[in-house]
């Protein structure tokens, strides 16, 4: 397992890039931030397609770039697989020859993957003798992923691989990315501005703002932080809970997800019982009651203590509630977005014990990550 370590600076037009982070050894590290904040420039410098003004990049024991020592390894010696925003397939080669283009490097690499296994995993066996030209967008991107994997990379860079695909095609590719992480063990650096993809895929998030890495940490921490709210997006703001899939009730079609705050009831999830999941609960799907409510349709009610409150608009505010069960070791933060009037009428303040209400149907397939 190889760790990527990055500490680079570069002027790109108006933007001053200063990125410093280390990748997760086995999982998916995400570079997250709005469009135009230098994410692509950072991955290009890691791949060697662009040169930093100064800094250092290492991959395991291998120094890829070091401005002090004058080291700048050309891209073809870096052992980095790169899946671009556009598929960038070779138009004059068949899918099979595209896939095998990097095989010569893979043959003297530690991370040799079986051709048939990769083709199987990506579901592209029927496309092998076709020309890229005749493939759909989703098929092209799957081939591009396979091509990068088969070049024997020690880390895989994926720069917004879904951005040029429609919703349906995205849903088609996402499971493959999860699968490749689980099946190949090759660490992935995944660039995306889409909160949904980050929650679903990432283990570690590197938050990028104006070219700078402003926060690095586990996805549930970074995506729940109030100070990063302007970067993670107001609409999508919320908390991420680590849950384990519990029993499924045949009678009403609900799955129970167990976490530090108790059991969250949601419409049936596909993940087998006993597996760990990440659930994003958006702040706007959570409301607050002072007493345990009766005669109400909402199934998920969790008592908790208010930790923090912040105004997020002229009429609304976000309330941070710790809903960990008594005796829990770690806090279990949940965000609720309510109107300022409600906050005033309920006399909400830090330290007050309240009840957080989550609508079960607000948790859908898009809110889940593995």
């Amino acid at each position: 397992m190889t760790r990527l370590s990055v500490d680079i600076q570069k002027h790109v037009g108006e933007l001053q890039i200063a990125a410093e982070f280390e990748s997760d050894v086995g999982g998916i590290t995400a570079l997250h931030g709005r469009s135009g904040t230098g994410k692509t420039s950072i991955v290009n410098m890691i791949a060697g397609l662009d040169t930093p003004d100064s800094g250092r990049i290492t991959l395991g024991d291998l120094v890829l770039f070091d401005s002090n020592k004058g080291i700048d390894l050309p891209p073809h010696l870096r052992r980095i697989g790169y899946v671009f925003q556009e598929d960038r397939l070779f138009p004059h080669l068949t899918v099979r020859r595209n896939l095998l283009y990097g095989a010569s490097r893979a043959s003297h690499s530690d991370t040799v993957l079986n051709f048939d296994a990769v083709v199987d995993m990506l579901g592209i066996a029927s496309l092998l003798d076709r020309q890229p030209h005749h493939l759909s967008g989703g098929e092209k991107q799957r081939v591009a992923i396979g091509r990068a994997l088969l070049s024997g990379p020690e880390i895989l860079l994926m720069d917004e691989p879904l951005v040029n695909l429609d919703m349906e095609r995205r849903g088609e590719i996402l499971p493959f990315i999860e699968k490749l992480r689980d099946a190949t063990g090759i660490p992935v650096l995944y660039v995306s501005h889409a909160t949904e993809e980050i929650i679903r895929l990432a283990d570690i998030v590197v938050m990028i703002s104006d070219g700078k890495s402003v926060a690095v940490g586990p996805v549930e921490d970074v995506m729940s932080r109030l100070d990063l709210r302007p970067l993670t997006g107001r609409y999508e703001a919320g908390a991420v809970l680590n849950v384990r899939v519990g029993e499924y009730s045949l009678d009403d079609g609900l799955s129970s997800l167990n976490f530090a705050g108790g059991a969250l009831l949601v419409p049936q999830v596909d993940t087998p019982i006993g597996h760990d999941l990440r659930v994003r609960v958006r702040a706007r799907d959570v409301s607050i009651a002072l007493t345990p409510p009766h005669g109400i349709s909402i199934l998920n009610v969790f008592p908790g203590k208010i930790l923090d409150m912040a105004e997020t608009g002229t009429a609304q505010m976000d309330v941070l509630i710790d809903i960990a069960l008594p005796g829990g070791i770690e806090p279990c933060p949940l965000w609720a977005r309510i109107t300022r009037r409600s906050a005033t009428e309920l006399k909400l303040e830090t330290g007050l014990v309240v009840h957080a209400l989550i609508k079960a149907v607000a948790i859908d397939r898009h809110s889940l990550g593995q």
Partner: protein
């Protein structure tokens, strides 16, 4: 139907034009690559020199060749002293003259297709472990094949029709440097050879049509291969 002399002229023309194109092709690809992809001081000057034969009188080019490659010339003298080779009055000299005159056309066509190759695709090849040389041979070269083909056909046609620089540099020697246009010129100088001259014109037209047909067929095959339809 076609006389021995006409066959000799035709064969000589094809030989000279063929060698001219064949030998200048690698240089044309190299210079096109420099002009399209590299930024270096003197790039504009190189561009100008390559295009010079297109804009100055062919006779002037022939004269410059004579000055440089003639037995008294800087390069020509050295070639004669070291290798005992002389280009003046030989078919090899005619090929050099044709090559120089056709070179700008070849470079223009190849450079145009190099400019249109998506360099992002070449970058992708690099990230798959391909060295710059391998990227050029396996990605760039196949993608500019249509441009190379166009450039070659254009240059071949230009070389076949070359007159001014050739007659100035290597003169008009039957069986050695008397190509189709020079043979035509010679016949027009002699009274009463109008019929023979017309026959040469006919051969030239037939040759041009054949070349066009061949290049069209080849171009279709290349295009099919690039777009991935079965050929």
């Amino acid at each position: 139907m076609i006389s021995d002399i006409e066959i000799e002229v035709l064969r000589l023309s094809l030989k000279i034009a063929g060698w001219a194109v064949l030998c200048s092709l690698p240089f044309a690809v190299g210079i096109s690559f420099l002009l399209s992809r590299r930024r270096f001081p003197g790039r504009f000057l190189l561009d100008g020199i390559v295009h010079l034969p297109l804009v100055i009188p062919p006779v002037a080019v022939g004269y410059i060749l004579l000055l440089v490659l003639g037995r008294q010339g800087v390069v020509g003298g050295w070639l004669y002293d070291v290798f005992g080779v002389t280009l003046v009055f030989s078919w090899q000299g005619a090929a050099v003259a044709a090559a120089v005159m056709a070179f700008p056309l070849m470079v223009r066509a190849i450079r145009l297709s190099l400019d249109s190759v998506d360099q992002k695709i070449e970058a992708a090849a690099q990230t798959l472990g391909a060295s710059p040389l391998r990227v050029f041979l396996t990605i760039t070269l196949p993608l500019i094949a249509p441009g190379i083909l166009t450039g070659t056909v254009l240059a071949f046609a230009r070389a076949l029709g070359e007159f001014g620089a050739t007659i100035t540099f290597v003169s008009n020697i039957a069986g050695e440097t008397r190509t189709l246009p020079i043979a035509l010129y010679t016949l027009l100088q002699a009274p009463g050879s109008e019929d023979a001259a017309l026959r040469i014109v006919g051969i030239s037209i037939a040759l041009a049509l054949l070349a066009l047909l061949a290049s069209e067929l080849l171009a279709r095959r290349v295009a099919r291969r690039l777009s991935g339809e079965p050929s």
